[in-house]
């Protein structure tokens, strides 16, 4: 018999594999109003540390998926199931992304799009120091009005020295890629 109070649940991040990718799909389907392409999931499985499932004890209750986009990391999805919010799981996932960013010298910022009406998420990201840098009209094609804030947080590296990335080139590629992804959403 379980003693509800005696034990504290454990929070953890776990790998995304071909075996459990369906759980990731299920979570996204429930949390996000947009649906993602098969390719999105195929890439996610191959994304290593950039895609993680969030566990509460043995239950999968959330997931995060991001990718390197030029000199930035772009968060594609991050969320957890409604009954499990405000337990610190979101924080754990954001911290994971920020750690990835700090580990990679050429990464200067982490950014993402959020539906302007999703105040909870905006508040959530603001607690970590993300700021709205721009608002894109009609970003989500399937939603109306579908406007999105771009939230961004700069990354500071411990020994800020010669950042050797050739920014311009990457930035253009990044923009092109972001456009493509938007279609998938």
């Amino acid at each position: 018999m379980a003693e509800p109070k005696a034990k504290k649940a454990r929070m953890d991040l776990g790998e995304l594999t071909p075996h459990n990718v369906k759980q990731f799909k299920l979570i996204n389907k429930i949390i996000f109003p947009v649906s993602y392409s098969d390719k999105f999931y195929k890439d996610a499985v191959a994304a290593g540390e950039y895609a993680r499932l969030a566990y509460l004890d043995d239950l999968v209750v959330g997931a995060v998926c991001c990718r390197v986009d030029g000199t930035k990391i772009y968060i594609m999805t991050l969320g957890c199931l409604a009954p499990y919010r405000r337990l610190g799981l979101g924080r754990m996932m954001v911290e994971h992304v920020m750690n990835l960013a700090r580990k990679d010298k050429k990464v200067t910022a982490v950014f993402l799009h959020v539906d302007v009406n999703n105040e909870d998420a905006v508040e959530f990201y603001k607690t970590f120091g993300f700021e709205v840098t721009e608002t894109v009209k009609g970003y989500y094609k399937k939603l109306s009005p579908g406007d999105a804030h771009v939230l961004e947080k700069k990354v500071t590296h411990e020994s800020e020295g010669d950042s050797s990335s050739n920014g311009d080139d990457d930035e253009t590629k990044a923009a092109a890629k972001a456009d493509k992804d938007k279609d998938a959403k």
């Binding site: 109070k5 649940a9 459990n20 239950l59 009954p83 337990l87």
Partner: protein, 704 residues
């Protein structure tokens, strides 16, 4: 205060001073007081007790104990003396003596809270929960305004297993307490404790409601959510067990909405749907669970099983194949246990039976049998292997296991299906009915219709044969040889070999009874092992036709000791009686003698007539018995269509569970006669159990 010193006396004031000195640890001063009292009142018990206590505090334990004995002797009626005695013994860890002393003290001073507290702590220390509870109750009666009194009593009730009482105590207290003045964390803890008590009491529904009602008061959200998810699962199991299946389904769906990533929830949902007869939905849900964790072999085989049960044979076979490679085990001891494949073959056989495809069903049944045979044949390898490895305990276990290999319930089931199929094929050889049917059908068709129909038939036949080829792994050498010839037919990536058993040939057997006997052979003693109930009736059918009355007697004897329904025993006995009366001359006199001796004992000396009456009576009360009695008539010459029409007539009215109805249906559906009104029976049963999927699986058209 000492009860034996008059109030206002010099001694009384000295006594008071002594107590104060003790409490403020001024032991010397305390002893001085004691001495003065004892000078005036020698052997004053309670003073001696205090003296003992003070001496003890000064670490002179032996002296203290002596003083204490003196004290008790001097004043046996003093609670204080006994209390001190208890304290000293407790310190020596002599809990038995300590407990006696405290009990005595508490008896004398029933309202002394210090004594009660010491007593209750010692009781819980020595796990005297009943005593603990009684003491805590007294405590609560004395000090109802104090929280610890309530909690103590609640916990004590919990420990003695009076969980309902504990819940009542806790909720009563929570109702009384003033939230504004209480620490939110503590209140939360108390509510969660109530939830836990309800769970321990199997009151999952109540716990869930409670959790919802008091959600706001519980500060630890994480434990709420976790508990809720568990709770839903428990509640659900409970409802499923109680047969409240619709409630169970609603509960499990709530749980899935709450946390849809929990694989087990879909498994539970699948099981409930299965119990409701909704096999197709059940398979879909369990297969969904499989997709959530494709690394889990257990779920994988469950999904295969559910798909096969739902008649989704191809899907089931593919899913089962996903893990097939990994089930091949090279360690012979493990391999023995690894009966993965036999469950699969048996499920396939069942699936084909449910569809009415007797040929493919037989092929899979033969496959199961071959596994068991292989197991026994492989003994030779194990003899040397185990002895060489000095694996003696494993070896002897193994020998025993081998001896009883065929007693495994899966093999018994296999033999049961084989007997019923072969008994039917003996009665109505495959093709006889089919040809008749085909001719009638073709006669009604126009020329073009006939052409189309025939080409379709040819294609279907080809496909059927191909399917069989893929799924009957030949483990033996013979299969491996044939393998080369048929390689082109093989699907890529499948390790399966050629058909060792050709469904078409199997079903067209001209020696159905012999074939059945091969399955029965290892079980002819009819040991009362698991699953035997299902074998006995079809075995009797085979043995009566095979004219083996003594073996029938054996089977009947086991029927009387296992869980076989009475109507089955009677119908089987009647079959034997009929055989005896129609073959009276052919039966060997010795055999006859044994039968005459044994048979009456099996049916309480009842005559054939009595038995028939009894069967009729049973048949008026249950659909299963009615169908059994009707099918008996079929073996006595009544036409199949009359029999089925009679069953159809009662299909709506006679009591039957879904499982019973499904069994009746299967026994009728595979009767080899197309024009017997089976579809009417199906419609009637389907109407009675509208959600059930079992009745629609059968492709009546495909039956011979």
């Amino acid at each position: 205060m000492s009860r034996t010193l008059p109030e206002g006396s010099k001694e009384a004031s000295l006594f008071r001073k002594m107590l104060r000195s003790y409490e403020s640890k001024q032991y010397k001063a305390g002893l001085k007081c004691a001495k003065s009292i004892l000078e005036r009142k020698p052997k004053h018990g309670e003073t001696l007790a205090m003296q003992a206590l003070i001496t003890n505090a000064m670490d002179k334990h032996d002296e203290a104990m002596e003083l204490c004995h003196e004290a008790v002797k001097a004043d046996l009626g003093s609670g204080m003396c006994w209390h001190v005695r208890g304290i000293l013994y407790r310190q020596k860890c002599d809990y038995d003596q300590a407990l006696r002393s405290f009990l005595r003290a508490a008896q004398i001073e029933a309202e002394n809270q210090t004594i009660l507290r010491d007593l209750s702590h010692l009781q819980v220390q020595v796990r005297d929960y009943e005593g603990f509870r009684d003491t805590r109750r007294k405590f609560l009666e004395l000090r109802g305004g104090v929280r610890a009194s309530w909690l103590g009593y609640g916990v004590a009730q919990h420990m003695t297993g009076e969980i309902s009482g504990a819940i009542e105590t806790m909720t009563q207290y929570l109702g009384l307490q003033d939230d504004a003045n209480t620490n939110a964390y503590e209140t939360s803890e108390m509510h969660m404790y109530v939830v836990m008590l309800m769970m321990a009491n199997n009151e999952h529904d109540r716990a869930l409601t409670y959790l919802n009602d008091y959600e706001e008061k519980i500060v630890d959200r994480r434990s709420i959510e976790e508990t809720r998810a568990q709770l839903l699962l428990n509640l659900n199991r409970h409802q499923d067990r109680l047969g409240q299946r619709d409630d169970a389904l609603a509960t499990i769906r709530r749980a899935i909405d709450h946390t849809p990533t929990v694989v087990e929830l879909y498994m539970v949902e699948g099981r409930i749907l299965k119990h409701l007869g909704r096999l197709d939905e059940a398979a879909t849900q369990v297969d969904f669970a499989r997709q959530l964790d494709t690394a889990d072999r257990f779920i994988n085989s469950k999904a295969a099983k559910y798909l096969l049960r739902a008649g989704r044979i191809e899907e089931g076979q593919t899913i089962a194949g996903l893990f097939a490679r990994e089930t091949r085990n090279t360690d012979p001891l493990n391999q023995l246990r690894d009966m993965q494949c036999s469950w699969y073959e048996l499920e396939c056989a069942k699936a084909y039976l449910a569809k009415g495809d007797l040929g493919n069903a037989l092929a899979h049944l033969h496959a199961v049998k071959s596994f068991y045979k292989q197991l026994v044949d492989d003994q030779f390898d194990f003899h040397s292997y185990c002895l060489r490895k000095v694996n003696l305990r494993a070896y002897t276990r193994l020998l025993k296991y081998e001896d009883e290999a065929y007693f495994h319930k899966r093999y018994v089931q296999t033999a049961a299906y084989a007997c019923s199929v072969y008994a039917e094929l003996h009665n109505n050889p495959f093709g006889s009915a089919k040809e008749r049917e085909e001719q009638e059908r073709l006669a009604k068709m126009s020329e073009s219709e006939r052409k189309k129909y025939l080409s379709k038939q040819r294609k279907a036949a080809k496909k059927g044969a191909g399917k069989g080829a893929n799924h009957h792994n030949a483990r033996g050498k013979k299969g491996a040889q044939q393998d080369n010839k048929n390689k082109d037919k093989e699907q890529k990536g499948k390790k399966s070999k050629t058909p060792q058993w050709n469904p078409n040939e199997l079903v067209q057997t001209s020696k159905a009874l012999d074939d059945a006997l091969v399955f029965l052979q290892p079980l002819l003693n009819f040991p009362a092992v698991e699953g035997m109930e299902s074998l006995l009736e079809p075995a009797v059918d085979v043995l009566v036709r095979r004219k083996r009355p003594l073996l029938v007697i054996k089977a009947l004897r086991t029927m009387t000791t296992t869980d076989v329904p009475r109507h089955v025993l009677i119908a089987s006995t009647l079959k034997l009686m009929r055989f005896i009366s129609t073959n009276a001359d052919a039966i060997n006199p010795t055999v006859r003698e044994i039968i005459d001796e044994e048979l009456p004992q099996l049916v309480e000396n009842k005559s054939e007539q009595d038995l028939r009456k009894e069967l009729e009576d049973l048949a008026s009360k249950s659909l299963a018995a009615f169908a059994c009695a009707q099918l008996l008539k079929r073996s006595e010459g009544v036409s199949t269509s009359d029999v089925i029409a009679a069953i159809t007539d009662k299909a709506a009215s006679l009591p039957a569970t879904l499982d019973e109805a499904a069994a009746v249906w299967l026994s009728v559906a595979n009767v080899q006669d197309m024009h017997a009104g089976k579809s009417e029976l199906r419609a009637a049963l389907q109407k009675r159990f509208p959600d059930a999927h079992v009745f629609t699986q059968h492709q009546l058209g495909a039956t011979a």
